[in-house]
């Protein structure tokens, strides 16, 4: 599914099997989003978090 990029208005492709928390990016401007999939299959894009100091493995 294609969702409008909040930064540049381009298209962000969200895979049909996407799970909440999946990172998707705009193919035009490269902005990264976290996909949040609602119970009815709705898709919301939240700006992806920046890497935190406690991130890692």
């Amino acid at each position: 599914m294609l969702v409008e990029c909040q930064q540049c208005g381009g298209e962000v492709a969200v895979p049909s099997d996407a799970i909440s928390g999946e990172i998707v990016s705009c193919k035009d401007c490269g902005s990264e989003y976290e996909a949040v999939i609602g119970s009815q299959g709705t898709i919301e894009l939240k700006s992806a978090e920046k890497v935190g100091e406690d991130w890692g493995e």
Binding site: E22, I23, D54
Partner: protein
């Protein structure tokens, strides 16, 4: 059996764990922290019913610790446990556990002031390594070649003003080949072993920094050291990092939320399946 996967950012690993759990019929439940509310006073039953066992897979160490504590509080087994995650999330605590279990490690000193850090580095000799106590992917892990470089590094950390960066974890630089070992352990089993070769222009070997993975074959003694390291922090699903030093293997890190994309790209073992089977084995079917 319901196998929960608690996560805050969906990586390759969490997707593969979900697929492996689904194939095994473990009814995977994705617990996305972005949409989770833990009711500490009245929500115990709801949280307990989420899953029989939870794989804690948060990219944020702090979030991972808190969600593990919440699940453990209602009696849900968490892999890794709060205790193991807290030890692995802090390099000093990991080193203390390894030293207690007499696992060979690089000589490590911890200091709390710039002056004492320089003294510690002088005592270790140059080159030496300065690491943040919390952090991963090789971030801010710095090799200092001499006193002058050390002073610049210390100044930069002091200027950043972050209290975690002002606990100085200072380590001897081990003369090793241009690679280190990453060994994925689940319980008592070595699941996969890889060499991580440092990329051009960097001395660090982290796959997150472009390190190249290649399968590794461990000797019996090396396997024993790795398993001892895993047990030293309390066991579970772990990524043990070690270097081939002049006197044998030395363990320098144990990762509590191990990423395995690099290892999976070269290993014949189905790593996510091994992890899922281990987690399932901890609870009654």
């Amino acid at each position: 059996m319901r196998l929960g996967i608690a996560y805050d950012r969906l990586r390759y690993e969490e997707k593969e764990l979900f697929n492996a759990a689904q194939k095994s019929g473990y009814n995977p439940v994705m617990v996305y922290l972005g949409e989770l509310t833990v009711d500490l006073t009245e929500g115990q039953r709801k949280l307990k019913e989420t899953a029989s066992v939870v794989l804690q897979r948060c990219v944020s160490h702090v979030r991972g610790l808190h969600v593990a504590a919440a699940f453990e509080n209602v009696g849900v087994k968490t892999v890794n446990s709060y205790k193991v995650s807290s030890l692995c999330g802090d390099k000093m605590l990991t080193s203390l556990a390894l030293a207690k279990a007499k696992v060979p490690t690089p000589r490590t000193l911890v200091t709390f002031s710039p002056e004492q850090t320089l003294n510690a580095l002088d005592a270790l000799g140059y080159p030496a390594v300065i690491k943040p106590v919390v952090g991963s992917w090789g971030r801010l892990v710095t090799r200092v070649r001499d006193r002058e470089e050390a002073m610049s590094q210390i100044e930069a950390r002091e200027a950043a003003g972050d209290s975690m960066n002002q606990v100085y974890y200072v380590q001897e630089f081990i003369k090793r080949p241009e690679r280190d070992l990453r060994v994925i352990v689940a319980g008592d089993e070595i699941v996969a072993s890889i060499y991580r070769y440092q990329p051009g222009g960097d001395w660090r070997t982290n796959v997150a920094r472009g390190g190249r993975a290649e399968t590794a074959k461990l000797s019996g003694g090396e396997m024993e050291t790795i398993i001892r390291a895993a047990h030293a922090v309390g066991g579970g699903v772990l990524g043990v990092d070690a270097m081939e030093g002049p006197d044998g293997l030395v363990v320098h890190e144990v990762n509590g939320t191990v990423e395995f994309r690099g290892a999976a790209s070269v290993s014949d073992t189905n790593i996510p399946n091994k992890i899922v089977q281990y987690a399932a084995s901890l609870v009654k079917r």
